[in-house]
C-alpha cells in the first residue's frame, strides 16, 4: 500500500483536477438577457446526451401576502394544473411521453421549475414554461382539489418528527422575519387562499424580468439562445418589484429553548444565525460546517458518534439565502443516553472551536471533504442547472465561482474569526428538543 501524500499537496492536485480552469461547473457558460428582462444562461457541456432547463422565479414564501401564507407553494402546485395549451395533468403526461422528468420546489426566496429531457427534444420545456407563465388557468375546481392535496402534505410533515421539529425551530429563530414562516402555510391560511390570491401573486411576480432560465447540457449555445428567444422572447415584462425592506429577524436573546414530545427517540436541533449567501463569511462557514460535521473525522461526528457513542448520527447544514440564514446541527440520540449530556458535549465542542483555532491539517481535511462534496454533488447536468439557476436568481453570475474560490482560500485564521462571530449559541440561537412521550 502506498501512503497518502500530505494535505497541502493533495489539495492543490485535487483542486486542479476537479475544477479545470477554476470554474465551479464543467462546460462553457454564456449569459444573455432578453428584451423583456429574462436572464438566460446556457451551460454547454457534452458529458451526456441530456439537457435540463431550470426556470427560477424570485418569488418565494417571503413574498406570501399577509394572511395567505403558503401562496408561493400553492401556486407551484397549480403551475402543473392547467394552462391554455396544457390542461390539468398534461404537463406530466407530455413529459412522460418524451421520456423526461420534471419537478419544482419552493423556498423562502424563490421557486424553481425544472425539466430534464434527452438532448433532441428539450425545447418542449420552453413551450410549457412560456404557456404557463403567460396563460395559467387556475380553475376553481382544480384549486379546491389541490388545496386538499396540500393539507395532506402538511399532515405528512407534521407526522415526520424531524420535519416537525425543524419547522418549530425555524419559526422561533426567525421570529418577525419571513424565513420563520412555514413554506406550506398553515391550514387556516390555506383555507383563506383561493384563485384570486393565486392569480394576483402570479401576475405580480411570474414575469420574465423576475426570472432566470438556465439551459444546461448537450446544446449548442447559439441555437439554444435562439430557441429561448422564440418561445419566451415575446412574453411581456412587468414584474412588480418588492420594496426590498424585509424586517430583520429578532434573534433570540441568549439560547432560546424549545421542547416537543414525539416518538421514542430524543432528537436535538440547534440553529444559529449565519451570514447571507453572498457574504464573504458564507464560504468560510461552509468550511466550518465540514470541519464540524462532514465525515468521520469531523469534530461533532467523532465526539458524539464514533467515540462518545452518544448519538446514532449527526448532521450539519448551512442555508444559502438572500438575508441572514442559519447553521443547523441535528443529532439523533441513542436511547438510554441522557439528552442533557449530548447537549453539554455539543456546546463544549462549539466553545472549544471558538477558543482554539483549528490546526492546518484539520482545515485541509475539511477543505478536501467540502471540495469532493462539491464535485460529486454537481456530477449530473440536472444538479448543475439547478445550482446555477438559484445562484443567478438570488445572487449573481460569479456567485458559484466566487464561493468555491473562497472555500479554497480560507485558512485557520479566517475560520477562527468566523467561529468567533457565528458559533456562539449564548449570543442568540434556538435549541430544540423532540423528546420521547414516555
Amino acid at each position: 500500500m502506498r501512503p497518502a501524500t500530505s494535505g497541502a499537496v493533495a489539495t492543490a492536485a485535487a483542486a486542479a483536477a476537479a475544477l479545470p480552469g477554476g470554474s465551479s461547473l464543467p462546460g462553457h457558460r454564456r449569459l444573455a438577457r432578453l428584451a423583456n428582462g429574462l436572464t438566460v444562461c446556457v451551460l454547454q457541456n457534452h458529458q451526456a446526451p441530456v439537457v435540463t432547463t431550470a426556470l427560477c422565479y424570485r418569488a418565494g414564501t417571503r413574498d406570501d401576502p399577509p394572511g395567505h401564507g403558503g401562496t408561493a407553494h400553492f401556486l407551484e402546485h397549480m403551475m402543473f394544473k392547467g394552462s391554455r395549451r396544457f390542461g390539468p395533468g398534461e404537463i406530466d403526461r407530455r413529459t412522460q411521453a418524451l421520456g423526461g422528468a420534471n419537478n419544482a420546489f419552493t423556498s423562502h426566496d424563490a421557486t424553481t421549475y425544472y425539466f430534464s429531457f434527452a438532448a433532441d427534444r428539450w425545447t418542449e420545456a420552453l413551450a410549457i414554461e412560456a404557456d404557463r407563465m403567460a396563460e395559467l388557468t387556475l380553475d376553481r375546481r382544480q384549486v379546491a382539489s389541490e388545496r386538499q392535496v396540500i393539507r395532506e402534505e402538511i399532515a405528512m410533515y407534521e407526522s415526520e418528527p424531524w420535519d416537525a421539529l425543524e419547522v418549530a425551530v425555524q419559526a422561533r429563530l426567525f421570529r418577525g422575519h419571513p424565513y420563520g414562516r412555514p413554506v406550506l402555510g398553515t391550514r387556516g391560511e390555506l383555507r383563506a387562499t383561493g384563485r384570486d390570491e393565486l392569480a394576483t401573486f402570479q401576475h405580480r411576480l411570474y414575469r420574465p424580468d423576475n426570472a432566470v432560465l438556465v439551459v444546461a447540457g448537450e446544446v449548442d449555445e447559439e441555437t439554444a439562445l435562439a430557441d429561448v428567444e422564440r418561445f419566451l422572447g415575446a412574453l411581456p415584462a412587468g414584474a412588480e418589484r418588492g420594496d426590498g425592506a424585509t424586517p430583520p429577524a429578532a434573534w433570540p436573546e441568549g439560547m432560546a429553548r424549545l421542547r416537543r414530545h414525539k416518538g421514542e427517540v430524543p432528537r436535538l436541533l440547534l440553529a444559529l444565525p449565519a451570514p447571507p449567501g453572498d457574504h464573504p463569511d458564507h464560504a468560510v462557514m461552509r468550511l466550518l460546517v465540514a470541519l464540524l460535521g462532514s465525515g468521520r473525522g469531523s469534530r461533532i461526528y467523532r465526539t458524539l458518534v464514533d467515540e462518545g457513542q452518544l448519538c446514532s448520527w449527526i448532521h450539519t447544514d448551512l442555508t444559502e439565502s438572500v438575508d441572514a440564514g442559519h447553521l443547523a446541527i441535528a443529532a439523533e440520540v441513542v436511547p438510554g443516553v441522557a439528552p442533557a449530556r449530548v447537549e453539554r458535549e455539543l456546546l463544549a465542542l462549539l466553545a472549544e472551536l471558538v477558543r482554539t483555532p483549528p490546526a492546518a491539517e484539520e482545515v485541509e481535511r475539511a477543505r478536501q471533504v467540502a471540495l469532493a462534496d462539491w464535485v460529486l454533488h454537481h456530477e449530473r447536468v440536472e444538479q448543475q442547472a439547478l445550482s446555477l439557476a438559484v445562484a443567478l436568481a438570488l445572487f449573481d453570475a460569479e456567485h458559484l465561482d466566487r464561493q468555491l474560490r473562497r472555500l479554497l482560500d480560507a485558512g485557520p485564521a479566517s475560520l477562527r474569526a468566523a467561529a468567533d462571530r457565528y458559533l456562539r449559541p449564548e449570543a442568540g440561537s434556538v435549541l430544540g428538543w423532540s423528546l420521547p412521550r414516555s
Binding site: 497518502a4 493533495a10 476537479a18 403526461r93 423526461g100 395532506e152 399532515a155 405528512m156 421514542e264
Partner: protein, 435 residues
C-alpha cells in the same frame, strides 16, 4: 416507434426456472469460474472515479437478524494495517467518500474519489474487503448504533407501515424484517459472527466495478494484482425460506401519526431475472411510477380525487434473487383511507380486465427509452449498473439490448403479463393507523 398489431396469439408469460441442485450450499457455481468478476468502464464527464466491491451475502443469508448489516459496516472499522480512525483520516484527507455497507442481498465497499486517486481508491477498497480485523469493541458499538437507528426509523409512520407490509407479504423469508434486524438480535451479534459471514461470502467470489475518468487497462491490471489469488467461486449459503406471508388479507400497524393513514396494497411478483421483468416495468409506469404525477393510481388518487400528496405504484419493488412486489402506497386521512383503498384496487383490476391502450403503451415505452441516458450519466451510476449486471448475469449495461427489449413489447404481450402477474383477487392491504 409504433409496433404494428400482431394477429398471433399473445405470448404466454414466461415461467421462472425452478431452483435446481446448483442452489445447494457448497456447489460449484461454474467449474473453474474465477473468484473475481470485474467490470471496468471509462466514463467521460466529471473527473471522478467510483469503485464498488460486492459480495453476495447480506440479510438474505444471515443467520441472525442484523448480521448482514453489521458485517458490511464492520469492514471500515479496521484492517490488519489500519484502525478506523486512520482509515477515515486517510480517505477524508484525499476527499474520498469511503464507506462499507450491509444490504439485503450483499455487503461490500464503495469508494467515490477524484479521478487522479483511482489507484488508491481501488487499493483501499481491496484492503477493507480482504483484510478486515473485525475489532470486537467496534462491533458492540455498531450494534447499539443500528438498534438506535431502528428505533428512530420506527418513529416515522410511513417506514413503520412499510415494515408491516413486508412482514405481511414475505414471512418467513428474511425480506419480512428490516435489514437492521431487531434490537435483541443485534445485541447478541459478535465480531466473530461478522467475520464468519464475511469469510463465507468471500468464498462465493468478489464482484468489482470501477467507472470514471480512468485508463481501463491500468485499472484492470490493478484489480488483477489485488485479487488474482482468490480461489474459484463456490456457493457458500443455502437459499432462504420461501416467502409465504401472513394468513390474513388485512394487516394493521399502529403508527405515530397525527392524522394520516399509510396504506400499502399489493402482492409478490417476480425475480429480477424473470423474462417478464421488462413488461412489468412498463406496467409499473402505467400504474404510477412514471414522470411527475402520471400513472393511473396517482392521477385518480391525487389529481382527480385530491386524497393524498403521496401516491405511487410499483410492480417490481425489491425484485432480486427473490420475488419483488406489486405495491401501491397512499398516505391519506384516516377518513378517506377506505376510498383510497377502493380506488387503488379498482385501478389494478381495471388494468388486468381491460388492458392498456396503444397510446399508453407508446407513451410508456417512449418514457422508458427516454430515461436511459439519465441512468448512465455519472461514474457512480455506471459502477452501480455494472455491479447489478454482473450480479444477475444480465446485460443491463448494454443500452442497445435494453432498447431492443423495450421495442419488442407489444400491447397483447403486456396485457398477458398483467393478467398473469397482477392479481386483484390476491391483493393484501397493510394499513398504518394512528394508535
Amino acid at each position: 416507434m409504433h409496433d404494428p398489431p400482431t394477429e398471433t396469439a399473445p405470448a404466454a408469460p414466461a415461467r421462472e426456472p425452478a431452483a435446481g441442485l446448483a442452489e445447494a450450499a457448497g456447489a460449484d457455481l461454474a467449474p473453474g469460474r474465477p473468484g473475481l468478476a470485474a467490470r471496468v468502464r471509462r466514463v467521460e464527464g466529471a473527473p471522478v472515479v467510483a469503485v464498488r466491491l460486492w459480495l453476495d451475502a447480506g440479510t438474505r443469508v444471515e443467520t441472525y437478524p442484523g448480521q448482514g448489516l453489521l458485517t458490511g459496516r464492520m469492514l471500515e472499522e479496521g484492517t490488519w494495517r489500519r484502525d478506523w480512525r486512520r482509515i477515515a483520516a486517510d480517505a477524508e484527507g484525499r476527499g474520498m467518500d469511503l464507506s462499507s455497507f450491509g444490504a439485503f442481498e450483499g455487503h461490500g465497499v464503495n469508494v467515490d474519489a477524484l479521478a487522479p486517486d483511482w489507484e488508491l481508491a481501488v487499493e483501499w477498497a481491496a484492503e477493507l474487503l480482504r483484510e478486515p480485523s473485525f475489532p470486537e469493541e467496534r462491533c458492540a458499538w455498531l450494534a447499539r448504533q443500528a438498534a438506535a437507528e431502528l428505533e428512530g426509523m420506527a418513529d416515522q409512520p410511513d417506514i413503520k407501515a412499510a415494515w408491516g407490509f413486508l412482514e405481511h407479504l414475505y414471512t418467513p423469508h428474511p425480506r419480512c424484517r428490516p435489514v437492521h434486524g431487531n434490537a435483541a438480535s443485534l445485541s447478541r451479534i459478535t465480531a466473530a459472527d461478522c467475520a464468519d459471514l464475511h469469510g463465507r461470502a468471500l468464498a462465493g467470489g468478489v464482484i468489482a466495478a470501477v467507472a470514471g475518468m480512468i485508463d481501463e487497462e491500468a485499472v484492470g491490471r490493478c484489480l488483477e494484482r489485488l485479487f488474482s489469488d482468490l480461489p474459484p467461486r463456490r456457493r457458500p449459503f443455502p437459499p432462504p425460506a420461501a416467502p409465504e406471508g401472513l394468513p390474513s388479507r388485512r394487516h394493521q400497524v399502529a403508527v405515530e401519526s397525527a392524522d394520516q393513514a399509510h396504506l400499502y396494497i399489493g402482492h409478490l411478483t417476480v425475480r429480477r431475472r424473470h423474462p417478464d421483468y421488462t413488461a412489468l416495468e412498463l406496467l409499473a409506469v402505467i400504474l404510477g411510477s412514471g414522470a411527475g404525477l402520471t400513472g393511473r393510481i396517482p392521477e385518480r388518487i391525487r389529481e382527480r380525487e385530491g386524497l393524498a400528496y403521496t401516491a405511487y405504484a410499483q410492480t417490481l419493488a425489491g425484485a432480486g434473487e427473490d420475488p419483488g412486489r406489486l405495491v401501491a402506497y397512499v398516505a391519506t386521512s384516516p377518513d378517506t383511507a377506505a376510498q383510497a383503498e377502493r380506488g387503488v384496487a379498482e385501478e389494478i383490476a381495471r388494468l388486468v380486465e381491460h388492458g392498456i391502450t396503444d397510446e399508453e403503451l407508446e407513451e410508456t415505452r417512449s418514457y422508458l427509452l427516454g430515461r436511459e441516458p439519465f441512468r448512465r450519466e455519472t461514474a457512480r451510476q455506471w459502477a452501480d449498473l455494472l455491479i447489478e449486471a454482473e450480479q444477475y448475469g444480465l446485460p443491463l449495461d448494454d443500452p442497445f439490448r435494453r432498447t431492443a427489449d423495450l421495442r419488442a413489447l407489444d400491447r397483447r404481450t403486456c396485457e398477458a403479463v398483467a393478467r398473469h402477474h397482477l392479481r386483484p383477487e390476491d391483493l393484501r392491504v397493510t394499513i398504518g393507523l394512528p394508535g
